[in-house]
Structure formats: C-alpha cells, structure tokens
C-alpha cells in the first residue's frame, strides 16, 4: 500500500484556517452574504424608476448587479487563498477537529 505523502502525515495540529485568520474570514463572510442579500431582498430594486437609459430600474439593477457579483466573488477567491497554503500543498495537513 502506497504511503500517503509526507505532508499529510505532519501531525502539527494547526488550527483551522478560519480560526487562524478571523479578519479575512469575517470579510469573506460579509462579502458573500452581501452578494446574496443584494438580490434576495427584492424591495431594494422592485420598481420602475429611476430609469437608467431606457431600462426601468428593476431590469437595470438585475443586469448591473451580475458583474458586481463576479468581481466581489473574485475578491473572495483571492482572499480564500490567504486562508490556506497555496495550491500545490495539501491544505491543513493532518488537522483533525477536536
């Protein structure tokens, strides 16, 4: 039976990434919740005025919100990189929940 890679055996009980980076984690949580809330709370945009160009506000908002979410999620992805070790490494080796 092939042995697991060395890293995976490291027994150092590193803390979970969330606990290790409380600020970044909080920012990520806020960004994700904001993305969802911005379209979940329909009263924010369920109206026809103001018109933006020829687009009633409702339709303008939905179309314009999409790229915003894409950008915010890209930021989230970049932030998540800081939570764990970079790509090639197994994340939090040997970590086991208490």
């Amino acid at each position: 039976m092939t042995q697991p890679p060395v890293q995976s055996r490291s027994s150092s009980g590193s803390r979970s990434p969330v606990a290790a980076h409380p600020v970044i984690s909080a920012v990520i949580a806020v960004l994700i919740i904001a993305c969802i809330a911005g379209t979940l709370f329909v009263p924010i945009y369920a109206r026809t005025v103001p018109k933006v160009g020829d687009f009633p506000f409702f339709y303008f908002y939905l179309l314009a919100y999409m790229p915003v979410v894409a950008v915010v999620l890209w930021i989230v992805v970049q932030l998540q990189k800081k939570l764990g070790p970079p790509g090639g490494q197994p994340a939090n080796p040997g970590e086991v929940a208490k």
Partner: protein, 619 residues
C-alpha cells in the same frame, strides 16, 4: 417539410454534423489509458482545468430549457420570469460556500456521485439510495425538456410537422437524439465538454447579436419596455386580472416580491444539488478550479439576463406575439422571434445554438443519472464486486436507457406533463439539501432523521404542486402556492419542513442513542487539494479504493483481491488504509463543526424555470 427555409435548414444541419464529429473525436481528447473506467467515462479523467471547466459548466447549467423557457415565462407572465436572473446571480455566492468542500472530499475518496458522498459520510445505504433515486427522477424530466426545447425549434423551422405519424413527425428529433446517445456512449463526459466550446460560442454570438440588433428593428429598448409594461398592466378579459406584472408586486399573493425571492433562492440552492452540475464540478482538476469558476461563471449569467429580455422583444414584435398566441405555446416565442428578426442564415446559426445547447446538458445529465444508477443502485445493491470496467459498461448502457426514457417523455406525453415533472424535479432535488449541503459541514444530523425529513419534504412538495390550481388549470398550475397567506415557492416550504423534521428527530434519536453509522471522511479532507488523480486507471479492479470501500463488506473482499490501489487520495489522513476499510472517524461528536464553519441553512427552496405559469396565462 414544405415551408422549410433551405438556408436556415442547411446551416443547422452543417453545424449539427460538425458537433457530431467533435463528439466522436472527443474520445481521443486527453486520451485515457483505459476509457473503461468510470473516472474516465463518467468524469472525463477528473482533469479539467479552469478554462475547460468554465465552458463545460456553462454549457451544463444553461440549457436549452433556459433559452426557451425563461423567455417563455417572461413572455407569458412578465417580471416573475426574471427570478431566473436573480437566481443565477445568487447561485454563485451560495456554491462558493459548499462546492469546494464537496470537490475535496470527493477527490480524496474518489466519489463519483453525490450519493457516494452521502454513503461515505453517513454510512447509510438507505440515505444513499434515497438521494440517488431523487437525482434520477429529477433528471429524467429535465432531459425530456431539452428535447422539448429542440422540438420548439424544429416546429418553427417547419421540419417534420406535416405528418400525423408520430415517428415521421419526430424523425429529426430521433436522429438528433440517437446521435447524442451514441457519442455519449462512446466518449463519455469528454463529448459534452468538447462540444460545449462550440455551444457556448454559438450561444454568445446569438445572444449578443440578438440584444444589439433586434431592438434596432423594434424601435429601441424604450419602446420594448413600454410595450411590455402596457401589456402586463392591462386587464385580461378572461381572468379579470392583469396579464402579468412588470415588476414584482409588494402584495401578499400573486407574483409578489416574496414569491420572486423564494423562487430565486430555492432554485439557486437546488442548481448545484442536481447530479449533472455536480458531475461537471467533480471533473475539475483541482480545488482552485472550482473556486475560480464560481467567480467566472457569473459572466454567463449576464447572458441569461439578456436572454430573458427576449421575452419582451417577442411581445413587442406583433407578428411573433400573434403567432405564439395562435400556436398557444409560449415555448415558441424565442424561435419565432429569431425567425422573423434574423436573416435566414443567421436564424440557422441561432437555431443550431439552441439545439446544440440542448444536447450538451442532456448528455451530461444522462451521464450523471447513469453514474447514480451504476454506483448507488447497481453496484451497491446488486453487484458489490463490480469491477470498474463493468461499472463503466453499465453506466454506458444506463445512459442510453435514460435517454430513451426521456425521449418517450418528450414524444408521447403532453408537454405540459413534462414541464410539470420538471417543476416537481426542482422541488424534489431541493430535498437533498440537508443531507448533502448539511453533510458537508456537520455530522450532527442523524441519518434516519435525514431520511424521514427527506420523505416529508418529498411528500409535501409533490402534494402541494399537485394541488396548485389556476383559473385555467386545476392541477400543477404553478411552482408556488400560498402558505400562511403569502405566495411562496413550494420547494422552499418543503425544504423547511424537511429541515425542521430532520432537526427535531436528530435531537430525539441522539437522546435515544440510536447508532450513528460510520463516517469514513475526516475533517481535513473537506479542504484537501490533492494534485494526483485518485487511482488514475487501475485497470480492472480496485478502482478508487475508497469509493469501493464505501460499498461495504463485499467490496472489501474485492479490494483485498485487487492489487494495492495506487493511493487514491493525495492527502490521506493518518489512517493507514486509504481504502475500503477506513477506520471510521468518530461519528457524531467528533466530526461536527468542521473547521469552525457551521452551515446554517435558514431557508431554502427551489424551482427551476417553471414556465407553467407562463403557459397557464396563455391558455
């Protein structure tokens, strides 16, 4: 075939032939040492990078039903159809929470289907079977609706509508589907992945041309919105109510803001519970590929917002609106619009885009359903020692059977029936939320509690959808019904019931010390990012050991016969046995609250584009 436009028809045929060629050639793409392995056939070798995954998931998520049914709903009912836009916005911030975890644990344990994960997580064959069953019955009508989308295009093209003989009438559909079935059989997931490049390009071209060109023909966006607003606020003499809504209302019943929000939220959660989207995800090479795609896929959603607006263009164009009303089928709105607005050759490109746009997701859905059958029904219950080769064979044939079944749905049953089933499929698939999403974050839930919650959600959702009536239809009228005086999405109500029962029963069962079953996953595996393929191609036996191991005793025997599997998991836990005989992690207490993040599923819901309302309002 008398009034077929030759140019349009020729372009469609040429593009279809090209796609067929690509489908068959795809088997050579990233050629596997052994195609007869479910990781290869069913997951394309699990090696897709960011670029390929983006195209494939885009091709997977945005189906012909989307191109046809969302504008149809907008055409029929107005703003409520835009819930689909809101839902495709919401889906990405939601999946960024749980999808990378599902990828990681599936990679480590070589899970091929979501039900494999449920089997491994809860040590419960019953729960795994329930989820596989739900997945298959939710996918069948979904595939059928891809065919309905193709039929809508063929009808408008004038192909095959002149005969009363079902077989002759639907011959083009049969041909399209036979081709699809054969190249899926041969190439597996590689085929739709390769074709999705063509599909997505065509769809982009189609939509961009449509949204820039058609408004110039129709007097500009101001006129389009003006016509739509006037139409939906005017009173329908038949029902004495407005035809629809131009923006969601703030009332308590009807197309309200709450209905809009619950439909969007429910659908967003449901989308990545569907087995075919999970199949697309698990085919990714690395964890970062999945994460990056959650930020890149919203680019597609912009497309959907624009596609939805085609419904308003169809209202504005008098000829299109009249023809759709005459046919009594809102599904024809987009094809008719294209036929009237575009020159014949570009109409051909657009029609081909829709047809190919149906074939790609249909292929992935058939593969996903086939994998579920093979892994979680056939291997689990009938042949625990099935070799990877046999599993792949079974999957190939199952994909064939699934497609035949879908074809039967589309051809023999009334289309409203297929659409109703699709509506139900959304409600059903959402009931996997607690066990699947919940299971990715906590092992707190009791497996029997989850099973009973699932049952309650399925029963409630089915009955509520059956009972929903409208002035024109007595059953299956809508994906929303009225709860406590408010119109909300049925899937959401069902999910809340499901979740409440699961929570209450878990508390009771835990107090009663009901055995919890083995959990073969370990907390760190949910964030692992193994670079190596789990068991690349161990021919003939042993497969991704961990996966086989989940199948219980029979498989353990199989494994011991097999030669040492080449370490399926990149990052294995301290556990000495990567395979079958996992030392079960301490279930329950030990495994809960992994990495500090608790999944709080407040309320969920779903409802894939149910254009029932749109159609109902036309009738």
């Amino acid at each position: 075939m008398s009034d077929v436009n030759v140019t349009t028809f020729t372009i469609v045929v040429i593009l279809f032939v090209i796609v067929t060629g690509v489908g068959f050639a795809a088997v050579r793409w990233r050629r596997a040492e052994d195609m007869l392995h479910l990781n290869e056939w069913g997951l394309g070798g699990r090696g897709f990078g960011t670029f390929v995954t983006w195209f494939m998931l885009g091709g997977d998520v945005y189906t012909a039903y989307t191109y046809i049914a969302v504008p149809a709903l907008v055409f029929g009912s107005g703003s409520i159809g835009f819930f689909a836009v809101s839902y495709t916005i919401m889906v990405y911030p939601i999946i960024i929470i749980f999808l990378p975890r599902l990828w990681s644990v599936s990679r480590v344990h070589n899970y091929i289907t979501p039900s494999d994960f449920i089997r491994g997580r809860y040590g419960s064959r019953g729960l795994s079977l329930a989820s596989a069953f739900t997945g298959i019955i939710a996918l069948m009508p979904y595939i059928a609706l891809q065919l309905v989308g193709i039929q809508a295009v063929l009808t408008v093209m004038g192909v095959g509508t002149t005969s009363n003989n079902t077989f002759i009438k639907d011959l083009p559909l049969f041909i399209a589907f036979l081709v699809l079935a054969v190249f899926t059989y041969v190439s597996g997931l590689r085929a739709p992945a390769a074709i999705s490049f063509i599909k997505d390009t065509l769809v982009y071209v189609m939509v961009i041309v449509a949204v820039f060109y058609i408004p110039t023909r129709l007097g500009g966006w101001g006129h389009i919105f003006g016509t739509a607003e006037a139409h939906f606020t005017s009173i329908n003499p038949a029902t004495k109510k407005p035809y629809g809504t131009f923006v969601p209302t703030s009332g308590v019943t009807g197309s309200t803001q709450l209905d809009f929000a619950t439909l969007a939220l429910g659908s967003a959660i449901a989308l990545f519970l569907y087995p075919h989207t999970i199949t697309g995800t698990l085919a990714a090479k690395r964890r970062y590929v999945v994460r990056r795609n959650t930020a890149l896929l919203p680019i597609y959603s912009i497309l959907l917002g624009l596609i939805a607006l085609l419904g308003y263009m169809a209202i504005t164009d008098k000829t299109t609106a009249a023809e759709v009303k005459k046919a009594g089928n809102a599904q024809l709105a987009v094809p008719y619009l294209f036929q009237h607005m575009f020159s014949p050759w570009f109409a051909g490109v657009a029609f081909a885009a829709i047809i190919i746009g149906a074939l790609v997701p249909a292929a992935i859905m058939a593969i996903a359903a086939a994998n579920l059958f093979t892994r979680n029904i056939f291997t689990e219950f009938f042949k625990p020692d099935a070799s990877p080769r046999l599993q792949t064979k079974v999957s190939q044939w199952a994909s064939f059977v699934v497609k035949i079944g879908a074809l039967y749905f589309a051809v023999e049953l009334p289309h409203t029936f297929a659409i109703n089933l699709q509506l139900l499929g959304g409600v059903w698939i959402l009931q996997l939320g607690p066990m699947l999403i919940g299971g990715l974050f906590t092992r707190w839930f009791d497996r029997y509690a989850l099973l009973l919650g699932w049952l309650a959600g399925m029963a409630f959702g089915t009955i509520a959808a059956y009972k929903s009536a409208s002035p024109t239809v007595s059953h299956w009228a809508s994906s929303s019904d009225i709860e406590f005086g408010h119109t909300v999405y049925i899937g959401l109500s069902a999910l809340i019931i499901n979740l409440v029962i699961a929570v209450i029963l878990t508390v009771i069962f835990r107090a009663a010390k009901v055995p919890q079953g083995a959990d073969e996953t370990l907390p760190h595996q949910y964030t692992a990012d193994p670079a190596d393929l789990p068991a690349p191609t161990p021919v003939g036996i042993g497969l991704g050991a961990a996966e086989a191991g989940t199948a219980g005793a029979g498989t353990a025997g199989d494994l011991s016969r097999g030669r040492p599997a080449p370490l399926p998991d990149g990052v294995h836990a301290p556990g000495p046995l990567p395979d079958g005989v996992h030392a079960p992690a301490p279930s329950g207490a030990g495994a809960k609250n992994i990495d500090g993040r608790h999944m709080t599923i407040g309320h969920l819901g779903n409802g894939l584009p149910s254009c029932v309302e749109g159609i109902a309002s036309l009738q």
